[in-house]
Protein backbone atom coordinates (compact mmCIF):
# COMPACT_ATOMS: atom_id res chain seq x y z
CA UNK A 1 0.00 0.00 0.00
CA UNK A 2 2.71 2.40 0.99
CA UNK A 3 4.55 1.26 -2.08
CA UNK A 4 1.63 2.32 -4.25
CA UNK A 5 1.42 5.73 -2.72
CA UNK A 6 5.13 6.19 -3.00
CA UNK A 7 5.05 5.12 -6.62
CA UNK A 8 2.21 7.44 -7.52
CA UNK A 9 3.80 10.33 -5.70
CA UNK A 10 7.16 9.86 -7.38
CA UNK A 11 5.60 9.61 -10.79
CA UNK A 12 3.56 12.71 -10.24
CA UNK A 13 6.54 14.68 -9.03
CA UNK A 14 8.57 13.66 -12.02
CA UNK A 15 5.72 14.28 -14.37
CA UNK A 16 5.57 17.84 -13.10
CA UNK A 17 9.35 18.09 -13.29
CA UNK A 18 9.21 16.91 -16.84
CA UNK A 19 6.31 19.05 -17.93
CA UNK A 20 6.87 22.31 -16.14
CA UNK A 21 9.43 23.98 -18.36
CA UNK A 22 7.10 23.62 -21.33
CA UNK A 23 4.31 25.13 -19.31
CA UNK A 24 6.64 27.93 -18.47
CA UNK A 25 7.33 28.56 -22.13
CA UNK A 26 3.62 28.47 -22.71
CA UNK A 27 3.07 31.12 -20.08
CA UNK A 28 5.71 33.37 -21.58
CA UNK A 29 4.15 32.99 -24.99
CA UNK A 30 0.84 34.12 -23.60
CA UNK A 31 2.18 37.34 -22.16
CA UNK A 32 1.20 40.48 -23.96
CA UNK A 33 4.30 42.53 -23.52
CA UNK A 34 7.71 41.42 -24.46
CA UNK A 35 8.68 40.88 -20.90
CA UNK A 36 10.29 37.66 -19.91
CA UNK A 37 9.92 38.64 -16.34
CA UNK A 38 6.96 38.55 -14.11
CA UNK A 39 6.85 37.76 -10.52
CA UNK A 40 4.03 35.30 -10.52
CA UNK A 41 4.10 31.58 -10.95
CA UNK A 42 0.89 31.33 -12.80
CA UNK A 43 0.66 30.02 -16.33
CA UNK A 44 -2.61 31.56 -17.33
CA UNK A 45 -3.54 34.94 -16.01
CA UNK A 46 -6.11 37.55 -16.68
CA UNK A 47 -3.71 39.11 -19.08
CA UNK A 48 -3.09 36.04 -21.18
CA UNK A 49 -3.35 36.75 -24.83
CA UNK A 50 -2.79 34.96 -28.06
CA UNK A 51 -1.30 38.05 -29.62
CA UNK A 52 2.15 36.56 -29.92
CA UNK A 53 0.88 33.60 -31.88
CA UNK A 54 -1.02 35.83 -34.21
CA UNK A 55 1.97 38.08 -34.81
CA UNK A 56 4.13 35.04 -35.29
CA UNK A 57 2.08 33.81 -38.18
CA UNK A 58 1.13 37.07 -39.78
CA UNK A 59 4.03 39.39 -39.34
CA UNK A 60 7.08 37.20 -39.27
CA UNK A 61 8.45 34.69 -41.72
CA UNK A 62 7.52 31.86 -39.41
CA UNK A 63 5.55 29.95 -42.01
CA UNK A 64 8.43 30.26 -44.44
CA UNK A 65 10.83 28.86 -41.87
CA UNK A 66 8.46 26.06 -41.11
CA UNK A 67 8.16 25.17 -44.77
CA UNK A 68 11.93 25.14 -45.13
CA UNK A 69 12.40 23.06 -42.02
CA UNK A 70 9.78 20.56 -43.08
CA UNK A 71 11.33 20.19 -46.47
CA UNK A 72 14.84 19.77 -45.19
CA UNK A 73 13.78 17.39 -42.45
CA UNK A 74 11.75 15.27 -44.82
CA UNK A 75 14.57 14.91 -47.32
CA UNK A 76 17.11 14.27 -44.60
CA UNK A 77 14.93 11.61 -43.05
CA UNK A 78 14.49 9.83 -46.34
CA UNK A 79 18.19 10.02 -47.09
CA UNK A 80 19.14 8.98 -43.60
CA UNK A 81 16.84 5.99 -43.57
CA UNK A 82 17.92 4.91 -47.03
CA UNK A 83 21.61 5.20 -46.28
CA UNK A 84 21.48 3.73 -42.80
CA UNK A 85 19.28 0.78 -43.69
CA UNK A 86 21.40 -0.24 -46.63
CA UNK A 87 24.84 0.14 -45.16
CA UNK A 88 23.82 -1.42 -41.86
CA UNK A 89 22.53 -4.39 -43.79
CA UNK A 90 25.83 -4.76 -45.56
CA UNK A 91 27.67 -4.54 -42.26
CA UNK A 92 25.38 -7.02 -40.64
CA UNK A 93 25.44 -9.70 -43.29
CA UNK A 94 28.84 -9.42 -44.78
CA UNK A 95 32.13 -10.27 -43.23
CA UNK A 96 35.09 -8.41 -44.54
CA UNK A 97 38.40 -7.21 -43.35
CA UNK A 98 38.26 -4.10 -41.29
CA UNK A 99 34.61 -4.62 -40.43
CA UNK A 100 35.18 -4.38 -36.72
CA UNK A 101 37.31 -1.34 -37.25
CA UNK A 102 34.53 0.28 -39.19
CA UNK A 103 32.01 -0.55 -36.53
CA UNK A 104 34.16 0.89 -33.82
CA UNK A 105 34.84 4.00 -35.82
CA UNK A 106 31.11 4.56 -36.09
CA UNK A 107 31.02 4.65 -32.33
CA UNK A 108 34.21 6.69 -32.14
CA UNK A 109 32.77 9.34 -34.42
CA UNK A 110 30.52 10.35 -31.56
CA UNK A 111 33.51 11.07 -29.43
CA UNK A 112 34.97 14.01 -31.25
CA UNK A 113 33.61 17.37 -30.13
CA UNK A 114 31.29 18.23 -32.98
CA UNK A 115 31.93 21.93 -32.72
CA UNK A 116 35.44 21.61 -34.01
CA UNK A 117 34.22 19.78 -37.06
CA UNK A 118 32.21 22.77 -38.16
CA UNK A 119 35.17 24.77 -39.28
CA UNK A 120 36.72 22.37 -41.78
CA UNK A 121 33.30 21.30 -42.88
CA UNK A 122 32.46 24.84 -43.75
CA UNK A 123 35.59 25.15 -45.82
CA UNK A 124 34.68 22.07 -47.83
CA UNK A 125 31.22 23.39 -48.46
CA UNK A 126 32.55 26.77 -49.49
CA UNK A 127 35.00 25.21 -51.90
CA UNK A 128 32.27 23.05 -53.41
CA UNK A 129 29.93 26.03 -53.61
CA UNK A 130 27.36 24.34 -51.49
CA UNK A 131 26.95 27.30 -49.18
CA UNK A 132 23.61 29.00 -48.98
CA UNK A 133 21.57 26.25 -50.41
CA UNK A 134 20.02 23.15 -49.01
CA UNK A 135 22.42 20.64 -50.50
CA UNK A 136 25.09 21.20 -47.92
CA UNK A 137 22.53 20.69 -45.20
CA UNK A 138 21.20 17.50 -46.76
CA UNK A 139 24.69 16.15 -46.85
CA UNK A 140 25.66 17.03 -43.34
CA UNK A 141 22.40 16.24 -41.60
CA UNK A 142 22.00 12.84 -43.15
CA UNK A 143 25.63 12.07 -42.44
CA UNK A 144 25.77 13.18 -38.83
CA UNK A 145 22.85 11.07 -37.77
CA UNK A 146 24.25 8.11 -39.70
CA UNK A 147 26.71 6.57 -37.25
CA UNK A 148 24.13 6.14 -34.54
CA UNK A 149 21.47 4.98 -36.98
CA UNK A 150 23.73 2.48 -38.69
CA UNK A 151 24.76 1.08 -35.33
CA UNK A 152 21.13 0.83 -34.37
CA UNK A 153 19.95 -0.83 -37.56
CA UNK A 154 22.82 -3.23 -37.69
CA UNK A 155 22.04 -4.45 -34.20
CA UNK A 156 18.46 -4.99 -35.22
CA UNK A 157 19.37 -6.80 -38.41
CA UNK A 158 21.60 -9.09 -36.38
CA UNK A 159 18.51 -10.36 -34.62
CA UNK A 160 16.78 -11.35 -37.84
CA UNK A 161 17.53 -15.02 -38.51
CA UNK A 162 19.45 -15.75 -41.69
CA UNK A 163 16.96 -18.44 -42.61
CA UNK A 164 14.46 -15.77 -43.50
CA UNK A 165 16.68 -14.47 -46.23
CA UNK A 166 17.58 -17.97 -47.35
CA UNK A 167 13.92 -18.82 -47.69
CA UNK A 168 13.42 -15.71 -49.76
CA UNK A 169 16.37 -16.52 -51.96
CA UNK A 170 15.07 -20.01 -52.57
CA UNK A 171 11.68 -18.56 -53.35
CA UNK A 172 13.36 -16.70 -56.14
CA UNK A 173 14.26 -13.26 -54.73
CA UNK A 174 17.37 -11.48 -55.87
CA UNK A 175 19.47 -10.01 -53.08
CA UNK A 176 18.01 -6.59 -53.59
CA UNK A 177 14.46 -7.95 -53.54
CA UNK A 178 15.20 -9.89 -50.40
CA UNK A 179 16.28 -6.72 -48.75
CA UNK A 180 13.42 -4.69 -50.05
CA UNK A 181 10.51 -7.09 -49.69
CA UNK A 182 11.49 -9.08 -46.64
CA UNK A 183 14.11 -7.42 -44.46
CA UNK A 184 12.79 -3.88 -44.56
CA UNK A 185 9.20 -4.72 -43.61
CA UNK A 186 10.42 -6.88 -40.78
CA UNK A 187 12.70 -4.15 -39.47
CA UNK A 188 10.04 -1.53 -39.17
CA UNK A 189 10.61 -0.72 -35.46
CA UNK A 190 14.27 0.03 -36.08
CA UNK A 191 13.46 1.97 -39.25
CA UNK A 192 11.07 4.10 -37.30
CA UNK A 193 13.74 4.98 -34.81
CA UNK A 194 16.22 5.77 -37.54
CA UNK A 195 13.66 8.01 -39.17
CA UNK A 196 12.99 9.73 -35.89
CA UNK A 197 16.62 10.43 -35.16
CA UNK A 198 17.24 11.71 -38.66
CA UNK A 199 14.23 13.94 -38.38
CA UNK A 200 15.24 15.26 -34.98
CA UNK A 201 18.76 15.97 -36.14
CA UNK A 202 17.63 18.33 -38.82
CA UNK A 203 14.52 19.78 -37.25
CA UNK A 204 16.28 20.91 -34.10
CA UNK A 205 19.67 21.71 -35.43
CA UNK A 206 20.96 25.20 -35.15
CA UNK A 207 24.73 25.62 -35.29
CA UNK A 208 25.35 24.11 -38.69
CA UNK A 209 22.32 25.67 -40.28
CA UNK A 210 23.58 29.03 -39.05
CA UNK A 211 26.91 28.46 -40.72
CA UNK A 212 25.56 27.13 -44.01
CA UNK A 213 22.44 29.17 -44.62
CA UNK A 214 22.94 32.83 -45.07
CA UNK A 215 19.96 33.83 -47.12
CA UNK A 216 16.97 34.54 -44.87
CA UNK A 217 14.67 33.02 -47.48
CA UNK A 218 16.26 29.70 -46.64
CA UNK A 219 16.11 29.95 -42.87
CA UNK A 220 14.97 26.97 -40.91
CA UNK A 221 12.95 27.22 -37.73
CA UNK A 222 15.90 27.27 -35.30
CA UNK A 223 17.55 30.08 -37.26
CA UNK A 224 14.31 31.99 -37.46
CA UNK A 225 13.69 31.70 -33.74
CA UNK A 226 17.17 32.88 -33.03
CA UNK A 227 16.49 36.05 -34.92
CA UNK A 228 13.98 36.98 -32.24
CA UNK A 229 16.80 37.09 -29.83
CA UNK A 230 19.19 39.92 -29.61
CA UNK A 231 21.53 40.31 -26.74
CA UNK A 232 20.02 43.66 -26.09
CA UNK A 233 16.38 43.33 -27.06
CA UNK A 234 14.96 39.85 -27.17
CA UNK A 235 11.37 39.44 -28.17
CA UNK A 236 10.60 36.79 -25.65
CA UNK A 237 6.92 36.47 -26.36
CA UNK A 238 7.44 35.69 -30.01
CA UNK A 239 10.34 33.44 -29.22
CA UNK A 240 8.30 31.44 -26.73
CA UNK A 241 5.38 31.13 -29.10
CA UNK A 242 7.67 29.95 -31.86
CA UNK A 243 9.46 27.55 -29.52
CA UNK A 244 6.19 25.92 -28.58
CA UNK A 245 5.13 25.45 -32.14
CA UNK A 246 8.53 24.02 -33.04
CA UNK A 247 8.31 21.55 -30.20
CA UNK A 248 4.81 20.32 -30.87
CA UNK A 249 5.40 18.22 -34.00
CA UNK A 250 8.42 16.61 -32.47
CA UNK A 251 6.44 15.82 -29.36
CA UNK A 252 3.68 14.28 -31.40
CA UNK A 253 6.14 12.22 -33.38
CA UNK A 254 7.84 11.00 -30.28
CA UNK A 255 4.64 10.09 -28.58
CA UNK A 256 3.23 8.24 -31.52
CA UNK A 257 6.27 6.08 -31.92
CA UNK A 258 7.19 5.68 -28.27
CA UNK A 259 6.20 2.04 -28.29
CA UNK A 260 8.66 1.37 -31.07
CA UNK A 261 11.30 3.19 -29.12
CA UNK A 262 11.09 0.69 -26.34
CA UNK A 263 11.59 -2.40 -28.45
CA UNK A 264 13.81 -0.89 -31.08
CA UNK A 265 16.30 0.67 -28.72
CA UNK A 266 16.56 -2.42 -26.61
CA UNK A 267 17.54 -4.51 -29.54
CA UNK A 268 20.42 -2.25 -30.16
CA UNK A 269 21.41 -2.04 -26.55
CA UNK A 270 21.27 -5.71 -25.85
CA UNK A 271 23.41 -6.66 -28.75
CA UNK A 272 25.62 -3.65 -28.20
Amino acid sequence: MIKRIFAWLSLCIFAVFSLYPMLYVLSVSLRGDNAFQTQSLEIFSSQSTLKNFVVLFTETDFLLWMRNSLFISAVTTLLGVALASTSAYALSRHRFRGRNLMLFSLLASQMFPATMLILPFYIILAKMHLIDNFWGLFLIYSSTALPFCIWQMKAYYDTIPKELEEAAVLDGCSRWMTFYKIILPVSSPALVITALFSFMTSWSEYVIAAVVLQDPELYTLPLGLRSFQASLATQWGLYAAGALIVSVPVLILFISISRYLVSGLTMGSVKG
Binding site: P161, L164, E166, A167, D171
Partner: protein, 347 residues
Protein backbone atom coordinates in the same frame (compact mmCIF):
# COMPACT_ATOMS: atom_id res chain seq x y z
CA UNK B 1 11.63 -35.43 -61.00
CA UNK B 2 15.31 -34.93 -60.62
CA UNK B 3 18.25 -37.22 -60.53
CA UNK B 4 20.94 -35.80 -58.25
CA UNK B 5 24.60 -36.59 -58.10
CA UNK B 6 27.18 -35.35 -55.60
CA UNK B 7 30.80 -35.91 -56.61
CA UNK B 8 33.63 -35.40 -54.15
CA UNK B 9 31.94 -32.52 -52.40
CA UNK B 10 34.39 -30.86 -50.03
CA UNK B 11 33.64 -27.90 -47.79
CA UNK B 12 35.54 -26.28 -44.96
CA UNK B 13 34.67 -23.37 -42.72
CA UNK B 14 37.89 -21.81 -41.61
CA UNK B 15 39.88 -24.66 -40.12
CA UNK B 16 37.03 -27.12 -39.74
CA UNK B 17 36.65 -29.56 -42.56
CA UNK B 18 32.95 -30.23 -42.61
CA UNK B 19 32.57 -32.23 -45.78
CA UNK B 20 35.42 -34.47 -46.85
CA UNK B 21 34.71 -35.65 -50.32
CA UNK B 22 31.11 -36.80 -50.40
CA UNK B 23 29.94 -39.02 -53.20
CA UNK B 24 26.23 -39.62 -53.33
CA UNK B 25 23.72 -40.48 -55.98
CA UNK B 26 20.02 -39.96 -55.52
CA UNK B 27 17.48 -41.45 -57.85
CA UNK B 28 14.72 -39.44 -59.33
CA UNK B 29 11.65 -39.26 -57.11
CA UNK B 30 13.46 -40.87 -54.21
CA UNK B 31 13.03 -39.92 -50.54
CA UNK B 32 16.53 -39.92 -49.17
CA UNK B 33 17.27 -39.28 -45.52
CA UNK B 34 20.59 -37.84 -44.42
CA UNK B 35 21.13 -38.81 -40.84
CA UNK B 36 23.97 -38.46 -38.42
CA UNK B 37 25.09 -36.79 -35.19
CA UNK B 38 25.41 -33.01 -35.00
CA UNK B 39 28.37 -31.62 -36.82
CA UNK B 40 28.53 -34.47 -39.29
CA UNK B 41 27.85 -32.17 -42.23
CA UNK B 42 24.41 -33.27 -43.27
CA UNK B 43 22.89 -29.80 -43.16
CA UNK B 44 25.88 -28.40 -44.99
CA UNK B 45 25.50 -30.95 -47.72
CA UNK B 46 21.85 -30.09 -48.04
CA UNK B 47 22.63 -26.43 -48.27
CA UNK B 48 25.15 -26.95 -51.04
CA UNK B 49 22.37 -28.50 -53.04
CA UNK B 50 20.18 -25.52 -52.29
CA UNK B 51 22.95 -23.17 -53.27
CA UNK B 52 23.16 -21.55 -49.85
CA UNK B 53 26.71 -22.82 -49.53
CA UNK B 54 29.24 -23.26 -52.29
CA UNK B 55 31.48 -26.32 -52.08
CA UNK B 56 35.21 -25.77 -52.10
CA UNK B 57 35.68 -28.67 -54.46
CA UNK B 58 33.54 -31.24 -56.20
CA UNK B 59 30.45 -31.00 -58.34
CA UNK B 60 26.73 -31.34 -58.02
CA UNK B 61 24.77 -32.50 -61.01
CA UNK B 62 21.04 -32.43 -61.40
CA UNK B 63 19.73 -34.42 -64.34
CA UNK B 64 23.25 -34.43 -65.69
CA UNK B 65 23.64 -30.65 -65.53
CA UNK B 66 26.33 -29.18 -63.33
CA UNK B 67 24.70 -26.69 -60.99
CA UNK B 68 27.52 -26.32 -58.50
CA UNK B 69 27.97 -22.62 -59.15
CA UNK B 70 24.41 -21.77 -59.98
CA UNK B 71 22.63 -19.07 -57.96
CA UNK B 72 20.09 -20.42 -55.49
CA UNK B 73 17.37 -18.27 -57.02
CA UNK B 74 17.77 -20.10 -60.31
CA UNK B 75 17.73 -23.62 -58.96
CA UNK B 76 14.61 -25.68 -59.00
CA UNK B 77 14.90 -26.37 -55.30
CA UNK B 78 12.64 -25.57 -52.37
CA UNK B 79 13.37 -25.99 -48.68
CA UNK B 80 11.57 -26.48 -45.41
CA UNK B 81 13.56 -24.91 -42.59
CA UNK B 82 13.96 -26.11 -39.04
CA UNK B 83 12.79 -22.76 -37.68
CA UNK B 84 10.11 -22.48 -40.35
CA UNK B 85 11.49 -19.07 -41.53
CA UNK B 86 8.01 -17.76 -42.28
CA UNK B 87 7.79 -14.14 -43.35
CA UNK B 88 6.36 -12.47 -40.23
CA UNK B 89 4.80 -9.55 -42.04
CA UNK B 90 2.81 -11.69 -44.48
CA UNK B 91 -0.15 -13.90 -43.73
CA UNK B 92 -0.24 -17.61 -44.48
CA UNK B 93 -1.62 -17.24 -47.98
CA UNK B 94 0.98 -14.64 -48.87
CA UNK B 95 3.76 -16.73 -47.40
CA UNK B 96 2.77 -19.70 -49.48
CA UNK B 97 2.18 -17.71 -52.60
CA UNK B 98 5.29 -15.58 -52.40
CA UNK B 99 7.43 -17.50 -54.84
CA UNK B 100 4.59 -17.71 -57.34
CA UNK B 101 4.11 -14.00 -56.93
CA UNK B 102 7.77 -13.50 -57.78
CA UNK B 103 7.30 -15.60 -60.87
CA UNK B 104 4.65 -13.13 -61.90
CA UNK B 105 1.87 -15.66 -61.97
CA UNK B 106 -1.66 -14.33 -62.08
CA UNK B 107 -3.56 -13.71 -58.90
CA UNK B 108 -6.14 -16.38 -59.61
CA UNK B 109 -3.51 -18.95 -60.38
CA UNK B 110 -1.72 -18.19 -57.14
CA UNK B 111 -4.93 -18.27 -55.13
CA UNK B 112 -5.91 -21.62 -56.60
CA UNK B 113 -2.60 -23.22 -55.98
CA UNK B 114 -2.39 -21.89 -52.44
CA UNK B 115 -5.84 -23.17 -51.65
CA UNK B 116 -5.00 -26.56 -53.12
CA UNK B 117 -1.91 -27.00 -51.00
CA UNK B 118 -3.60 -25.56 -47.94
CA UNK B 119 -6.40 -28.08 -48.22
CA UNK B 120 -3.90 -30.85 -48.63
CA UNK B 121 -2.18 -29.79 -45.44
CA UNK B 122 -5.43 -28.96 -43.67
CA UNK B 123 -4.51 -25.35 -43.03
CA UNK B 124 -7.01 -23.75 -45.36
CA UNK B 125 -8.82 -22.18 -42.42
CA UNK B 126 -5.67 -20.33 -41.45
CA UNK B 127 -4.96 -18.50 -44.69
CA UNK B 128 -5.62 -15.03 -43.31
CA UNK B 129 -3.57 -15.43 -40.16
CA UNK B 130 -0.10 -14.15 -39.53
CA UNK B 131 2.63 -16.54 -38.39
CA UNK B 132 2.73 -15.17 -34.88
CA UNK B 133 -0.87 -16.25 -34.42
CA UNK B 134 -0.15 -19.89 -35.22
CA UNK B 135 0.99 -22.80 -33.09
CA UNK B 136 4.24 -24.63 -33.80
CA UNK B 137 2.62 -27.42 -35.68
CA UNK B 138 0.58 -25.05 -37.80
CA UNK B 139 3.66 -23.05 -38.64
CA UNK B 140 5.42 -26.17 -39.73
CA UNK B 141 2.61 -26.98 -42.11
CA UNK B 142 2.73 -23.52 -43.55
CA UNK B 143 6.47 -23.90 -44.10
CA UNK B 144 5.73 -27.17 -45.80
CA UNK B 145 3.04 -25.57 -47.87
CA UNK B 146 5.33 -22.79 -48.96
CA UNK B 147 7.90 -25.27 -50.17
CA UNK B 148 5.34 -27.40 -51.97
CA UNK B 149 3.46 -24.57 -53.60
CA UNK B 150 6.34 -24.07 -55.96
CA UNK B 151 6.15 -27.55 -57.41
CA UNK B 152 9.89 -27.87 -57.63
CA UNK B 153 11.57 -31.06 -58.71
CA UNK B 154 13.64 -31.14 -55.52
CA UNK B 155 12.31 -30.53 -52.02
CA UNK B 156 14.75 -30.25 -49.11
CA UNK B 157 13.95 -30.68 -45.45
CA UNK B 158 16.36 -29.35 -42.83
CA UNK B 159 15.39 -31.02 -39.55
CA UNK B 160 11.87 -29.71 -39.87
CA UNK B 161 10.35 -31.63 -36.97
CA UNK B 162 12.94 -31.05 -34.24
CA UNK B 163 11.01 -28.20 -32.68
CA UNK B 164 7.76 -30.12 -32.34
CA UNK B 165 6.56 -32.23 -29.47
CA UNK B 166 6.66 -36.01 -29.73
CA UNK B 167 3.04 -36.48 -30.64
CA UNK B 168 3.08 -33.93 -33.41
CA UNK B 169 6.31 -35.32 -34.67
CA UNK B 170 4.96 -38.77 -35.21
CA UNK B 171 1.89 -37.30 -36.86
CA UNK B 172 3.91 -35.15 -39.22
CA UNK B 173 6.21 -37.99 -40.14
CA UNK B 174 3.32 -39.84 -41.61
CA UNK B 175 1.97 -36.80 -43.36
CA UNK B 176 5.24 -36.02 -45.03
CA UNK B 177 5.54 -39.56 -46.19
CA UNK B 178 2.04 -39.40 -47.61
CA UNK B 179 2.89 -36.17 -49.38
CA UNK B 180 5.85 -37.83 -50.97
CA UNK B 181 3.62 -40.52 -52.33
CA UNK B 182 1.40 -37.90 -53.89
CA UNK B 183 4.05 -35.62 -55.25
CA UNK B 184 6.84 -37.13 -57.24
CA UNK B 185 9.57 -34.66 -56.40
CA UNK B 186 12.90 -35.90 -55.22
CA UNK B 187 13.00 -35.26 -51.49
CA UNK B 188 16.07 -35.05 -49.32
CA UNK B 189 15.46 -35.04 -45.62
CA UNK B 190 18.03 -34.18 -42.98
CA UNK B 191 17.58 -35.29 -39.39
CA UNK B 192 19.54 -36.36 -36.38
CA UNK B 193 16.68 -38.56 -35.23
CA UNK B 194 17.28 -42.12 -36.38
CA UNK B 195 13.63 -42.97 -35.88
CA UNK B 196 12.59 -40.45 -38.47
CA UNK B 197 15.26 -41.78 -40.75
CA UNK B 198 14.18 -45.34 -40.64
CA UNK B 199 10.46 -44.68 -40.81
CA UNK B 200 10.53 -42.16 -43.62
CA UNK B 201 13.36 -42.84 -46.03
CA UNK B 202 13.39 -44.88 -49.17
CA UNK B 203 17.08 -44.94 -48.51
CA UNK B 204 19.18 -43.65 -45.67
CA UNK B 205 22.65 -42.12 -45.87
CA UNK B 206 24.42 -42.15 -42.51
CA UNK B 207 27.01 -39.42 -42.19
CA UNK B 208 29.74 -38.95 -39.66
CA UNK B 209 32.51 -36.41 -39.63
CA UNK B 210 31.89 -35.31 -43.17
CA UNK B 211 31.91 -38.75 -44.72
CA UNK B 212 29.12 -41.09 -45.83
CA UNK B 213 29.46 -44.12 -43.58
CA UNK B 214 26.81 -46.19 -45.23
CA UNK B 215 23.97 -45.79 -47.60
CA UNK B 216 21.13 -48.22 -48.11
CA UNK B 217 17.50 -48.96 -47.43
CA UNK B 218 16.38 -48.74 -43.83
CA UNK B 219 16.24 -52.47 -43.73
CA UNK B 220 19.79 -52.83 -45.02
CA UNK B 221 21.11 -50.30 -42.57
CA UNK B 222 19.23 -51.88 -39.76
CA UNK B 223 20.13 -55.46 -40.45
CA UNK B 224 23.56 -55.03 -42.00
CA UNK B 225 25.31 -52.12 -40.26
CA UNK B 226 28.81 -51.69 -41.61
CA UNK B 227 30.37 -50.53 -38.39
CA UNK B 228 29.87 -49.98 -34.71
CA UNK B 229 28.82 -46.38 -35.16
CA UNK B 230 26.03 -47.19 -37.57
CA UNK B 231 24.95 -50.17 -35.54
CA UNK B 232 24.67 -48.11 -32.39
CA UNK B 233 23.21 -45.04 -34.03
CA UNK B 234 20.43 -46.71 -35.96
CA UNK B 235 17.73 -48.71 -34.29
CA UNK B 236 15.82 -48.19 -31.14
CA UNK B 237 16.29 -49.56 -28.58
CA UNK B 238 20.04 -49.37 -28.97
CA UNK B 239 22.17 -52.39 -29.75
CA UNK B 240 24.05 -54.15 -26.98
CA UNK B 241 27.79 -54.44 -27.34
CA UNK B 242 29.35 -57.22 -25.35
CA UNK B 243 33.02 -58.08 -25.08
CA UNK B 244 35.21 -60.46 -23.27
CA UNK B 245 35.26 -64.19 -22.84
CA UNK B 246 31.70 -64.52 -24.05
CA UNK B 247 32.73 -63.26 -27.45
CA UNK B 248 35.59 -65.70 -27.83
CA UNK B 249 33.23 -68.57 -27.29
CA UNK B 250 31.01 -67.72 -30.22
CA UNK B 251 30.93 -70.29 -33.03
CA UNK B 252 32.55 -67.93 -35.58
CA UNK B 253 36.13 -68.09 -36.71
CA UNK B 254 36.47 -64.33 -36.64
CA UNK B 255 35.34 -64.33 -33.04
CA UNK B 256 38.54 -66.02 -31.93
CA UNK B 257 40.61 -62.98 -32.75
CA UNK B 258 41.33 -60.62 -29.88
CA UNK B 259 39.49 -57.27 -29.57
CA UNK B 260 36.15 -58.31 -30.93
CA UNK B 261 32.71 -57.10 -29.87
CA UNK B 262 29.42 -58.91 -30.04
CA UNK B 263 26.64 -56.68 -31.23
CA UNK B 264 23.14 -57.86 -30.63
CA UNK B 265 19.87 -55.92 -30.42
CA UNK B 266 17.64 -56.32 -27.37
CA UNK B 267 14.92 -57.93 -29.45
CA UNK B 268 17.38 -60.60 -30.63
CA UNK B 269 18.08 -61.75 -27.07
CA UNK B 270 15.73 -64.19 -25.37
CA UNK B 271 15.49 -65.80 -21.99
CA UNK B 272 16.91 -69.24 -22.30
CA UNK B 273 14.37 -71.75 -21.04
CA UNK B 274 13.73 -74.80 -22.93
CA UNK B 275 15.57 -76.13 -25.99
CA UNK B 276 18.28 -74.10 -27.73
CA UNK B 277 17.65 -74.08 -31.48
CA UNK B 278 20.35 -74.46 -34.07
CA UNK B 279 20.62 -70.77 -34.87
CA UNK B 280 20.53 -69.84 -31.23
CA UNK B 281 23.44 -69.63 -28.86
CA UNK B 282 23.49 -69.49 -25.12
CA UNK B 283 25.31 -66.53 -23.69
CA UNK B 284 25.47 -67.17 -20.02
CA UNK B 285 24.20 -66.16 -16.62
CA UNK B 286 22.27 -62.95 -16.34
CA UNK B 287 20.96 -61.09 -13.35
CA UNK B 288 18.07 -58.66 -13.73
CA UNK B 289 18.59 -55.24 -12.22
CA UNK B 290 15.70 -53.21 -13.58
CA UNK B 291 12.65 -53.73 -15.69
CA UNK B 292 10.90 -51.09 -17.85
CA UNK B 293 7.34 -51.63 -18.89
CA UNK B 294 7.04 -50.47 -22.48
CA UNK B 295 3.41 -51.43 -22.94
CA UNK B 296 3.27 -54.59 -24.99
CA UNK B 297 6.84 -55.48 -24.11
CA UNK B 298 9.16 -55.12 -21.16
CA UNK B 299 12.78 -54.08 -21.36
CA UNK B 300 15.03 -55.80 -18.87
CA UNK B 301 18.30 -54.26 -17.78
CA UNK B 302 20.83 -56.43 -16.08
CA UNK B 303 24.37 -57.62 -16.01
CA UNK B 304 25.99 -60.42 -17.94
CA UNK B 305 29.51 -61.12 -16.91
CA UNK B 306 29.80 -57.64 -15.46
CA UNK B 307 28.42 -55.83 -18.53
CA UNK B 308 25.06 -54.18 -18.85
CA UNK B 309 22.83 -55.95 -21.30
CA UNK B 310 19.28 -55.12 -22.29
CA UNK B 311 16.68 -57.40 -23.71
CA UNK B 312 13.03 -57.25 -24.66
CA UNK B 313 10.59 -59.76 -23.30
CA UNK B 314 6.88 -60.22 -23.37
CA UNK B 315 5.06 -58.13 -20.78
CA UNK B 316 2.88 -61.02 -19.76
CA UNK B 317 5.74 -62.46 -17.77
CA UNK B 318 6.97 -60.73 -14.66
CA UNK B 319 10.61 -60.38 -13.81
CA UNK B 320 12.00 -58.95 -10.61
CA UNK B 321 15.29 -57.28 -9.83
CA UNK B 322 17.78 -59.81 -8.65
CA UNK B 323 16.23 -62.57 -10.65
CA UNK B 324 18.73 -64.80 -12.31
CA UNK B 325 18.36 -66.43 -15.68
CA UNK B 326 20.21 -67.63 -18.68
CA UNK B 327 20.20 -65.72 -21.98
CA UNK B 328 20.38 -66.89 -25.54
CA UNK B 329 20.76 -64.94 -28.80
CA UNK B 330 19.61 -65.40 -32.36
CA UNK B 331 22.90 -65.87 -34.26
CA UNK B 332 21.40 -64.75 -37.55
CA UNK B 333 20.69 -61.42 -35.99
CA UNK B 334 23.97 -61.00 -34.17
CA UNK B 335 27.02 -59.09 -35.40
CA UNK B 336 30.69 -59.17 -34.73
CA UNK B 337 32.66 -55.93 -34.70
CA UNK B 338 36.34 -55.30 -34.50
CA UNK B 339 36.94 -52.89 -31.67
CA UNK B 340 39.77 -50.96 -33.27
CA UNK B 341 38.49 -50.61 -36.83
CA UNK B 342 34.83 -50.69 -35.85
CA UNK B 343 33.99 -52.75 -38.92
CA UNK B 344 31.46 -55.49 -39.08
CA UNK B 345 33.47 -58.65 -39.48
CA UNK B 346 30.84 -60.78 -40.98
CA UNK B 347 29.60 -58.70 -43.92
Amino acid sequence: MAHIEFSQITKSFGRSHILKGIDLEIASGEFLVLVGPSGCGKSTLLRTLAGLETPDAGAIRVNGQDITRQEPQNRDVSMVFQNYALYPHMNVAENMGFSLHLQKKSKTEIANRVREIAQLLQIDHLLERKPKELSGGQRQRVALGRALARQTSIVLFDEPLSNLDAHLRSQMRVEIKRLHQKINSTMIYVTHDQMEATTMGDRIAVLKDGVVEQIGTPSEIYHQPKNIFIASFIGSPEMNFIEGAVVGQLPWPEAKKPGQLLGVRPEAIKVSEGPVLAQEWELGDYQVELSENLGGQTMLHGSLQGQTVRLLVDSAKEYHPGQKMKLKIDLTKAHLFDKSSGLNQRL
